[in-house]
Each structure stands twice: as structure tokens, then as C-alpha cells.
Symmetry: C2
Subunit: 791 residues, 2 copies
């Protein structure tokens, strides 16, 4: 079994003697602080109890309390063992049991933390030592993080427990365990509640995705089924309509029937089933979150942390670490809030701005390239632009991820939080917001603006002289679909694989290096040192093993969460455009769970186990995403898709509305959605050059071309139908939102966030405790009265 | 000072001897139960402690606990004093201090209830006695409520404390204290936290109303100011447009200029300022609720009940009252949830149905009356209908209030809640929902349906043969305005006055009766009884005084809250239609506060003081009202008012859009909103009789008349402008909602629901407590080790 709580690795620079000595000195100073804490141990403390302390400002004057210096230091006294290994010194720490005694007692008497008898496990030890270690400071006020930054220490980490690690590897962390239930209780014991809740959440999310992906596949199949005999597809494929050139100069008029394939693709996901599926997914989000609350409550009550309060524990740790230190006062200034709000807004504007720079890039580069001398570029201008755009987009995302992290950390530092939990919360919200906008703003552009602000022949909206990009000829939803498919398939897969492979490769590399050294010349060297007292004991192999793993920090789990919540956002927010998203997410997650497990158990250093009873601010983030999903899906179906125009055509403007029942209700729809531009019109002639009006295949010059809009062919003003469709679109958005709201309400009515069982158990436990307390009180009273009698 | 905790008044029926004896016997039996609890007192209990109890199922087997019967009964032992008065017996109770000792101890050790040293005040005593009294049952399993229902007891009440009552009267409960700060701390001490929070909330609401009403008045004045030189008013007043008959047969065509006055009235509140005001009020609601949370937190932390948990206290009381009784298990069945949801929906449908019955009533009665033989009725058909409708509406509201209460109580009983708090919560939500729909469904009809589903000349929507009611000729908002004015002015005033006067008159009447009796023949009788032992002591005057006051129950405070929350709903939900609502609410509330205070202090029996730290489910109710306010105000401005059509006219269809800058932008607006019906059209001829087409004043027969709609005069189809306006209306609704949401978000960002001060204080207090506990632990350990040494 592992006997140390924490390991500090100090650097000793061999090349520069002076620097090496300085480093060594600084490291020793810090270790001395830790060791010093031991000096004032039990004996000192008991004596000091008899001293009457001078009256404290907090009204404790009349009590006997230990002298300041002694208790404060005695509490965190630590066992330190030193090993030399190559050019590093390994300081292995084990805290005295005294610290934990106090911790246990305070947890018991405090108001807000559940108390259970088996509170002191190795993970609790690590957490406490972690806290004390990171709060200790040397005479020059340097904390551990400062020392790590100034290279005195290379790193500080806690150790994996061999037997348990093996157990988890066997039970859980392996690719062959893909479909085996996760042992949450063991995970909780080893990695703490926070990690266990992450896996619990992830597994619940994956289960719920199963339902969503089955329905998504059904919707997809429905889309395939309705393609046959579909009037709209037939009309597109058999049409002889000539469409207007989609871009300046190099584009020519084209035949609508060319997009026959795309029309089929478009109908795959732009059909009535999608509406219901989008609505289902909006409600699914609610059900998912409600049921998750239940699941959480059940496990958390099983783990006996239902009423656990992280901030209370931190307060207790503070008292243990340094009894005399005043608790820091929270400060709140409206100025600071304002500044941070403004900074966040600015950052968001920059992020959104970048997305639009990409849009402008695509608009500008394509025509510029096509006029370049090189035949290759001018011929494949579109493809080159697309590839360039995609590469740029990917680079932006990668760079912004780093920038976002730094900005979010800076901002949450500015807010001067007093506890780890609240700092983490603030960082989480900011980082999520930034990342969300980084990843989604281009999607929002595609969904709601692309092709909607383009103008019409004779009056195109222009960026200086360049025409804006048009929607895909088969409908604006196609663009969104393609974007979503790329993100879900490529980005997700690549990320998941990278995330797993990088630590894996690092481990292999480290082990390889180690082997080489041991077998090579260095072995003799090490043997020479073996006889030094304390220094130079051979470092136990398991510590070296731990040292060789990938580093982890407070944000390791955050990254996993962020990734999954982003995926959740993609899956729910634009699900209307891509019903297969849940399926892809499902497949990814099945592997993700085990990948993360393997990473945590065997590829990364052990995470500091955190005790908590919820996934923190992520709950609120998920709820906001749920809210946005309702809005976005409503807008995608109402505004982006052709669902509403088709509905209006079927019931109001089409042949069925005119009671002409011999025709198919949708016949004539395609022609109805198109308007005609006459080249004879002066303004149109400005936009289209004569060369553009030639049909490529037949070389026929046309005088008229069509474009998707509801405009009169005379004065190009919007027709009544346009406004009708627009009104219905907005009515749909409003209705969709409120119907989903109603459904959410009904779901909430039925699904309580606390299962009855859990509530009952908790009440019963409380009842028992109260009865016990009552009995104890009576017993004490009896004893007192007996004592009195006896006297 | 008052020395009794509670008074039970038993009936002795003098007229029927047998019945009288039965009643007496039943009352005595119950009193015996209470007295009996005394029998097993301290002595019994101490002895029983030495008995080892047979193993209990809850794992307490190895502890010595008192025998079941003794402890359970001993706990609630009560001092009972009996008085005879006229034909009643007054049992005055005082519980033994033992009960409170246990209560205090359990509160201290329990997890969820804050503990303060001054926990045992008279109000706490009353609360505990109230609980025990209502849980006690006779051998035949009859509880106090059953006995009251079967007339054994007339009533049970707790007593006012003379000195404190006087103090409150002087400091707070008087009409001359209208503008003096309320002594919340004293209120809390006397009536408990729940009542104090009510007054705190009410006073905060009133303060916030001040701001809203100032702005409301400004908006009103702005409306007055813009009337001069307003193009629209000028156009209405100077128009020569003939309007179509608003109803069948008896109505004739009329001149638009006749509504000149109303056009002015309409513009008073249907102007641009209202939009901003409505938006302001939506945000005001959020700010109000956020700031209320802060205020609450501040006071609650001052009162040291920040972490108080009502349900936990109830559990403690249960343990004190009957240690052995198992705690009841919560049951949850989806069937039951479904049934209750269906029943609630049914009830709501009935309520909404009733509102529509009134609409139908008005549609039908008016034409029917006008054809009645009586000249009076046929001449004043409209007015008679209006009065009849109003009376019917009032009766419906009054009847439904009773019905709603009964149904809500039944439904929340059906849910079988286990604690008072949750039962009360469920009742509150249901009752509020029912009352809300009762009062608002007619307003919703007026706001969103009236005049919108009427059809047009030649194609009127008809109920069997009757045309639906039209909007007021000056705009649909006028109807809403009138309705709101009536509710806010009349209903509110009448209610407030009644609420105060009824107990006042009752008290006067009772005192009068009492005086008469004392001065009359009954005095001698009473003197004869004076020498009976126990029975027939003269009842202390203060008990008689308390007895003479109006009864109160658990729902007394609920009624006050309901009234105020309803007012809050009126003030916020349709504020766009009536900007003066906040002012009227403000005036009402200034009086309401003192009226309620006087009522509680001098006119009603003392409320059982409840300890709590929030206003319960009302917070959520207020938040829902806030949400609805955003929706409703958006809809009123977008759909009901003429704001959008005017906007569209100004910027798109009017003279300014055509760059004709010589004209006023709004000139021609009135004519633009009207469509023309030709009597030559066959369908129109069916709707309008020749007699109706005669202008009353001039006796000229017209061939054309105008009506408010955007329809072509040829085929009566809706014009492009109609759809344009409709689309803009819906866009406005969506925008309004989301802009307000954004504002709410920003408000939340700045205003934390916990003031920093409160958080700091709480953390500090916790810190101090933890340090104390640590010292105590050390002390104990030291003592133990010393003892060991000594041995």
C-alpha cells in the first residue's frame, strides 16, 4: 500500500552551480516550513491550553484557548521523506493523524456538512494535505504555486494506490468493459465524489442519448421513405427553370434540375418529422435534466453527502490549517461587476467578430482567387476557398480555446473569490460562454443570416463590391446540415482520439526513456549515492511510475466536462438540422467513458479527490443550453427550414386551398417559391453581365432567370405571400416556444427532482438521529441529577 | 401578563339536556387526554430510563431508552384551568416547561435549524402547544378539529399578550402611523416570522410601487401632452368617414368623428411612452423580486433564522409530541399526479368556460333585449346589458372564490402531504391558479380576442345568429383600459374596506352584546356559580376579550397574501393598458398595511406565530407572475395596441416612407387603417339592412361604410399590409420578450440575491463557531488525558 499523501519534486540544476544551490535552498526552506509545523507538537499544545489568552475581539475572551503560534503550526505538522533521483529530489509527505482527528470532529459538529463515520479515507487525507500544502508559505511569503512557477519545484502530485488502481483497471478502465455497468461507488472512493459524479452524469447522458438516437434514426428513415413520389423532388428534378447566377462574374445561370440530388438530401431532414423531433428533443432536454437530478439525489444520498457543503468544508480546512487567521471578507463592488460585464461583452464581440471575419474572408477570397492568373486557382476558386476557410476556422477555434482559457482565468481572478468552489464556478461560466460563442457563432450565422440578407437581382447587398454568399441552392438548411455533420463527425472524433492518445504516447515515451537510463550508464551513479543518510535513498518504483504520468490539475476534470457539455449543446441546439447528431454523440460517448476512465486510472497522475454533492454550476449551464435549444430549434424550423412556406402553400396559397382537389396539394410549390428577374430591367443588367446569362450546357442565352424569394416580377417589391409566410414563421416560433414550455411544465409536474424514496430515507434518518439525541439528553440529565444526589 | 398558552371553548347546549351532557362528556374526555399527559411526569420517566428496552428495529437496541408510554405522554403534559361562562366552558391551557426544554435541546443539535439562545419566547410556546393540541386525540381517535366540527368545542385560540399588544398598537397599528417605519422586529417577536415577512414584503412592494407609480404618472402626463397637435386625433375629429354599423339590426352607420373624445382617451395610454413603460415594468418586476430576496436575506439573518427549516422543526415537534410514533412515509403515485393534473385542468376549463359564458351572455342579451316590447329595455339595451354583465361577473367572482377555495383544499388533501408546510404550499399554488384564472380570463379575452375574431362586413363571425361584440371604436385597448380601471378602482377599494370593516363591526357588536349581558340579568347568575371549585371561576376579562375577536385560522395570512399577489398581478400583467395601476395600488397599499395591522392586533384573535425564513411558495408564484407579465405586456403592445400599425405606417407605408417629406409622417393614417364595404356587394347587403345604412344625424342613406381592417375593397381579401403588420407584430412580441430577458440577466448580474454583508456575517459566525468547537474538543481531550493521568 502507498504510505505517502503527497510528493513534491524539486529541481536541482546541475549545469549552473549557483542556480542549482539557490533552487535547492528554496526547496529546503519550504520543506522546513512543512517540517517545522511538526516541531510544536502534542506536548506544546497541551501546556498552552492552560494559558488564558488575551481577550479576542470576537467575544471568546473568557475561554481558554491555545496560544496562536503553537496550535496553528502544530496542526499541519508533516512527515517528510526525501529521495534523490537523477537530478531531482523527491520529497514524500505524510501528514500526522492529528490533523485528521480535528477534521473529523469539526465535520461532525458543523451545521452544513453531513457526517458519516467513515469520513477519513485516503482520498480525504489527500484532499486535506493538498489544501494545507497549497496554503503553506515560506518566510518570503512564497506559496507552493509560486515556487513551482519559479522552477524550485517541478511539480507536486498525489499518488495512485496500487491495489485500488488495479481493481479499477480490472473492473472499469478497459476497452473491453465498454458495455459493463460502471462501479460508481469504487470510483467515488478512489477519485472522490466529483469525478464519480462526472461519470455518473456521462453515463446517464449516454443512456438518454440512446432514446434520442433511435428516434433520430427513425426520423432519418422517414426522410428516406418520403423521398419516393415526393412532388417537390419531382418538380425540382424535372423542372426546366433557369436560376440566376449565384455570384458575380464567374458564375452563370444554371438549371434548377441540376440540384436534384441536393433536393433529395434536403428533404431527408427538412420534413414534417423533423418538427416533431425538434420538439421532442427540446422536451428530452428537460426530462434528461429532471431525471438527472433524481439520479444524482439517489446516489448522493447513498454516498451520504446529500447535505454536503463544499464551502463549509473549506472553512473547516481553513480553521484546521490556521486557527488564528481571520476569515477573508467578501467584497462586492458594482464598478468591478460592470467592468467584468463589459470585458466579457467585449470578448464575446471579438469572438463573434472573428466568425464574421471568416464570412467576409470567404466572400472576398473566392472572387479574388478566380481572377488570379494561375489557372489552378481560378478554376478551383470555390474549393480552395472552402478548404482555406475550413483551415482558418479550425485554427481560430484552436487558438481561441487557449485565449479563452487565459481570459476566463484572468477575469475570474479579478473577481477575487474567497473559496475554491466559487472561483471554479465563475471560471466555468466564463470559459463555457466564450467557448460556446467560439464554436457556435459561425453556426448561428449559417442558420439565421446566410442567404437572408443578400438582397435580390438588381439590388444585391454588397460588401464593398462583393456579393454575399448565397444559401445552398436546395435550401438554407442544407448548409447547416453540412456544418453540423462536419463538426459532429470530424471535430469530435479527432478531439476524442487526441485526448486519449497524447497521454498514452507520453507514458510510453517516458517509460522508454526510463528503461534506457536504468540499463545505461546512470545506474552506477545512483548506486554511489545510496549510502547518504536520508538523501539518496532509492526512490520507490511506484513513485517514479506516478511521476512519469501526465500531469493533472484542478482543471483536468473541467476540460472533460466542457467537452461533453459542448457536445450536449451541439446535439440539442441544432438537432433540427441534423437528426443523426444524437446517434453520433452516443457512439462517441460509449468510447469516451472508457477513454476517460483509462486516462484517469493509468495515464494521468491521480486527481485530487474532491468531495461534493452536485456537478456544480454545470447544472445551470445545462439548463441554459436547454433553454437555448428550445429557442434555436424553434427558429431553425420556423425561419431556416422550408417547413412554414410549404405549410402555407398547402393550406392557403396552393391548389388545395383553392379547392382544386384534382391536383396534388404541393404541385406548383417550387415555381411558387421562385421569383423572376428580367434581364431587360436596368438594375438587373448592372448585376449580371451578358456572359453570365448563358446556360453552360446548351449555350443558350436567356433573358429571365429565377431566384428564391417572394417578389413581384414587375417592381421587385415583396408580395403579400412573403409577409404572410413571415407572419406564420414568427407565430410558429412563439407557439413552439410556449408549447414546449407547457410540456416542460407538465414534465416537472410528474417528475420530482427528489425521488420519494430518497426523501423518505432522509426524513427517517433525521428522525432516528433526533430520537437518539433526545435519549442522550435524558441520559445526561439523569447522570447529572444522580451526581447531585450522590454529592 | 398572559399566563395561558391556549384556550379551548366548549359548548354546553342548555336547550337539549341529553345533547348538552354528551357535549360536555366529549369535551371532558379530550381535556382528560391533555391532563393525562401530565400524570406520567418527571418521576416516572427517570425510573424508566434504567429499563433496557427490547431491541428496536431502528438499530437503537443497545441503548437505554425510556419506556414508550411514559415518555410519549409525559412530554405533552399540560396545565388546564377551567372556567364557566354563560353556556360555555373555557379551558385555559399552559404547557409544562419540560416540553420546551426538549424542544430547545433538539433545535440546538439538529442539522438544519439555526440555533439561537433566545429561542423560547411566548410565540414559540404557542406554536408548540398548538402543534401538540392539534395532534392529540381521544380514545375514539377524535382530534381537536373533529371535535370542533362536531360542535363539542366552539373554538380554540391563543391569547394576545396585553402589554405587547398595547405596544404594537402605539407603535404600528394605527391610522395615524401611515407613514411611519414598521417595527418589523417587534412584529416578528409577537406574530412570528411569517407575519413579519408578510409585512416586510408588503412594505417593500409599496416602496417599489412608488417608483413605478411616479413613472406611470409621467407616462400619463406624456399622453396628455402629446394630445395637442396630434395628427391622428385631428384626423379622427375632423374626419367625414362613415363607419359600418357595429351590431345587427338596431345599430346604424355612424360618423368616425363622433369618437373624437375616445380617440383622445385612447392616445392617453396608447402611445410610444407606454412601450417603454411596459418594458420598464417587466424589468421592474425582476428588480423588485431580486431586491426583495436581498431584503429578506438581510432581515432573516438579523432574526437568526437564515437556515431555518420548517419541516425540520415539524419533525422535532413530532418527536417531542410522540417519541415512539413512526414518521410517516411519503407516497408518490403517478396515477394520483395524473388525476390531480386532470382535475386542475378541468377546473381551469370550467373557470375559463364561465368567462366565455359571460361573453356569450353579452352577445346574446343585447340584441334580445332590444327586441323586447318594453321601450325602456329596447332603448337602453346596451347599458342594461353592461350592468347585467357586470353584476353577473361580480357574482361569478364571489361564488368562484368560495368554490375555488373548497376545490383547492380538496385537491391538496388528496395529495396526502405529510407536513403542514408542503400541504400549505400545494394549496397556495392551486388556489392562486384558480383565482388567477377566475379574475383574469375575462381580461385575457378582452385583450387578445375581442374584436379580432369578428370577421368583416359580408362575412361576420356569428354565434348562431348573433354577431360578436366589436372592439371599442377608438381601439381595442380602450376596452382593456376600462376593465382595468374598474378592477383597480372599484374592486380593490371595496375589498379593502370590507376586509377591514367586517371584523371591526363584529367586534363592536360583540362588545355591545357583552355589555348588555353584564349590565342585565345574567350577572347574578354568574355570581351564583362563583363558589364552585375549579368550574365557574370568573373568566378573566382578557380571555373574554380575546374570545370576542374575529376568528383566525391557518389561512388568515394566506388570504392577505393572495389579495396582494392578485393586486401585484393586475399591476404588472396589463400595466401597458393602464399605466396608472401602480399609483392606485400604491394608494391602496399604504392603507392596506395599517388596515391589516389594526386587524391583526386589535380586531382578530392572535395568529399562531409561525417561524420561517421566507414567504414560501409565494416567491415562485411572484416569479411566474413576472414571467407572465413579460409575455402579456409584449402581447398587449404588439397585438392589442395600435403601436405596431402606426410604426409600420410611419416607416414603411406612410408618406414619409415614400420620401414625401412635406407631409406629416402620420397623415392619412386613419384612412389607411380602414377598409371600405360596399353595400352594393351581395354579401354585405345580407349583413346590413337598409335601415342601418342611414346616418342618424343627417338622415342621409350611404352606400359605403368603413371598418377597421386591412382588406381590399374589391374581393375583401386581406392586403399585403395586413400581413406585413402581422409579421411585425409577432417580431415585436419575440423581440420584447428576449430584450426583457436580456435586461433581466443584466439585473441578475449586478444584484446578487444575498447581500455581501449578510454572506460575510454568516461566514464569520460559522468561523467563530468552528473555532469554539475546536477549543472545546481540545479541552475535553485534555480533561480526559488528565483524568487518565490521575487514575
Amino acid at each position: 500500500e502507498c504510505t505517502f499523501d503527497y510528493v513534491l519534486v524539486a529541481n536541482t540544476d546541475d549545469t549552473d552551480l549557483q542556480r542549482g544551490a539557490d533552487l535547492k535552498y528554496a526547496a529546503k526552506a519550504f520543506i522546513k516550513v512543512l517540517k517545522n509545523k511538526k516541531h510544536f507538537s502534542v506536548t506544546t499544545e497541551i501546556h498552552s491550553l492552560h494559558l488564558t489568552h488575551p481577550a479576542e475581539p470576537l467575544g471568546l475572551g473568557d475561554k481558554t484557548i491555545p496560544s496562536k503560534s503553537s496550535s496553528a503550526k502544530a496542526l499541519a505538522a508533516a512527515d517528510v521523506k526525501e529521495y534523490k533521483h537523477e537530478n531531482k529530489i523527491f520529497y514524500c509527505l505524510r501528514a500526522p493523524d492529528k490533523v485528521f482527528e480535528r477534521y473529523t470532529y469539526l465535520i461532525k459538529v458543523s451545521d452544513s456538512c453531513n457526517w458519516t463515520k467513515d469520513v477519513l479515507t485516503q482520498s480525504t487525507r489527500i484532499r486535506i494535505v493538498h489544501f494545507i500544502l497549497h496554503k503553506a508559505y515560506t518566510a518570503s511569503k512564497e506559496k507552493l504555486c509560486d515556487l513551482i512557477a519559479s522552477n524550485v519545484f517541478e511539480c507536486a502530485f498525489c499518488l495512485h494506490e496500487d491495489s485500488k488502481q488495479k481493481y479499477l483497471k480490472e473492473k472499469w478502465a478497459g476497452w473491453n468493459k465498454l458495455f459493463i455497468k460502471q462501479p460508481f461507488k469504487d470510483i467515488k472512493k478512489y477519485f472522490g465524489e466529483k469525478v464519480a459524479l462526472y461519470f455518473l452524469w456521462l453515463s446517464w447522458y449516454t443512456w438518454m442519448l440512446l432514446l434520442a438516437s433511435v428516434l433520430g434514426v427513425v426520423v432519418f428513415l422517414y426522410g428516406l421513405a418520403v423521398q419516393k413520389n415526393n412532388t417537390i423532388i419531382k418538380e425540382v428534378c424535372e423542372s426546366n427553370i433557369t436560376m440566376c447566377p449565384p455570384c458575380d462574374k464567374r458564375c452563370q445561370v444554371w438549371q434548377l434540375s441540376d440540384t436534384c440530388m441536393y433536393a433529395k438530401l434536403n428533404l431527408l431532414f427538412d420534413n414534417e418529422a423533423t418538427v416533431w423531433f425538434a420538439m421532442f428533443m427540446a422536451i428530452w432536454t428537460t426530462v434528461f435534466l429532471e431525471l438527472w437530478e433524481r439520479k444524482r439525489a439517489k446516489h448522493v444520498s447513498k454516498w451520504k453527502v446529500y447535505d454536503w457543503c463544499e464551502e463549509e468544508e473549506e472553512l473547516i480546512l481553513k480553521v484546521i490549517n490556521n486557527r488564528t487567521r481571520r476569515v477573508e471578507q467578501l467584497e462586492h463592488s458594482y464598478l468591478q461587476s460592470t467592468i467584468i460585464l463589459i470585458l466579457v461583452t467585449l470578448m464575446l464581440m471579438i469572438i463573434i467578430g472573428l466568425a464574421h471575419v471568416l464570412v467576409v474572408f470567404r466572400v472576398v477570397v473566392s472572387p479574388v482567387l478566380s481572377e488570379v492568373d494561375s489557372a489552378f486557382f481560378s478554376d478551383h476558386a470555390d474549393i480552395v476557398t472552402m478548404i482555406l476557410g475550413a483551415v482558418l476556422h479550425y485554427i481560430t477555434i484552436q487558438v481561441m480555446a487557449k485565449v479563452n482559457r487565459r481570459v476566463a482565468r484572468k477575469l475570474s481572478k479579478m473577481e477575487r473569490h474567497k473559496s475554491f468552489a466559487s472561483r471554479h464556478k465563475s471560471f466555468t461560466v466564463k470559459m463555457f460562454t466564450f467557448q460556446f460563442f467560439t464554436l457556435f457563432s459561425s453556426l448561428f450565422y449559417v442558420a439565421f443570416f446566410l442567404g437572408r440578407i443578400n438582397g435580390y437581382p438588381g439590388n444585391y447587398t454588397r460588401l464593398v463590391t462583393w456579393r454575399l454568399q448565397e444559401c445552398h441552392p436546395s435550401g438554407c438548411l442544407t448548409d447547416l446540415f453540412i456544418q453540423m455533420a462536419i463538426i459532429m463527425l470530424l471535430k469530435q472524433m479527432i478531439n476524442s482520439i487526441f485526448e486519449y492518445l497524447v497521454p498514452k504516447l507520453k507514458k510510453i515515451k517516458n517509460e522508454h526513456l526510463m528503461k534506457k537510463r536504468v540499463c545505461g550508464g546512470s545506474r552506477k551513479n545512483r548506486c554511489d549515492n545510496q549510502h547518504d543518510i536520508e538523501m539518496g535513498d532509492k526512490v520507490p518504483q511506484y513513485i517514479i511510475d506516478n511521476y512519469n504520468l501526465t500531469e493533472t490539475d484542478d482543471y483536468s476534470l473541467f476540460d472533460e466536462f466542457l467537452e461533453m457539455v459542448m457536445q450536449f449543446s451541439f446535439t440539442t441546439i441544432f438537432v433540427a438540422a441534423f437528426p443523426l447528431a444524437p446517434l453520433l454523440a452516443l457512439i462517441n460517448n460509449i468510447f469516451e467513458i472508457r477513454g476517460d476512465a483509462i486516462k484517469m486510472v493509468s495515464l494521468e497522475r491521480r486527481l485530487v479527490p474532491r468531495k461534493t454533492n452536485n456537478i456544480g454550476v454545470w447544472t445551470q449551464v445545462l439548463e441554459s443550453v436547454g433553454g437555448m435549444a428550445v429557442l434555436a430549434n424553434g427558429l431553425v424550423i420556423g425561419i431556416t427550414s422550408d417547413f412554414i412556406p410549404r405549410l402555407v402553400y398547402r393550406y392557403r396559397t396552393g391548389p388545395c386551398a383553392a379547392e382544386n382537389e384534382t391536383l396534388n396539394c404541393m404541385s406548383g410549390y417550387i415555381r411558387n417559391t421562385l421569383s423572376v428577374a428580367n434581364w431587360t430591367h436596368e438594375a438587373v443588367r448592372k448585376d449580371f453581365q451578358p456572359r453570365q446569362m448563358v446556360v453552360t450546357d446548351t449555350n443558350v442565352t436567356v433573358n429571365q432567370c429565377s431566384y428564391r424569394d417572394y417578389r413581384s416580377s414587375e417592381d421587385y417589391s415583396l408580395t403579400s405571400q412573403f409577409w404572410l409566410v413571415l407572419a406564420v414563421r414568427f407565430v410558429f416560433v412563439i407557439l413552439f416556444q410556449h408549447v414546449v414550455l407547457l410540456c416542460k411544465f407538465i414534465v416537472r409536474w410528474f417528475v420530482h427532482s427528489n425521488p420519494t424514496k430518497v426523501t423518505n430515507k432522509r426524513v427517517k434518518a433525521k428522525h432516528i438521529r433526533l430520537k437518539e439525541e433526545l435519549d442522550e439528553m435524558k441520559k445526561k440529565k439523569l447522570e447529572e441529577s444522580l451526581q447531585k444526589d450522590w454529592l
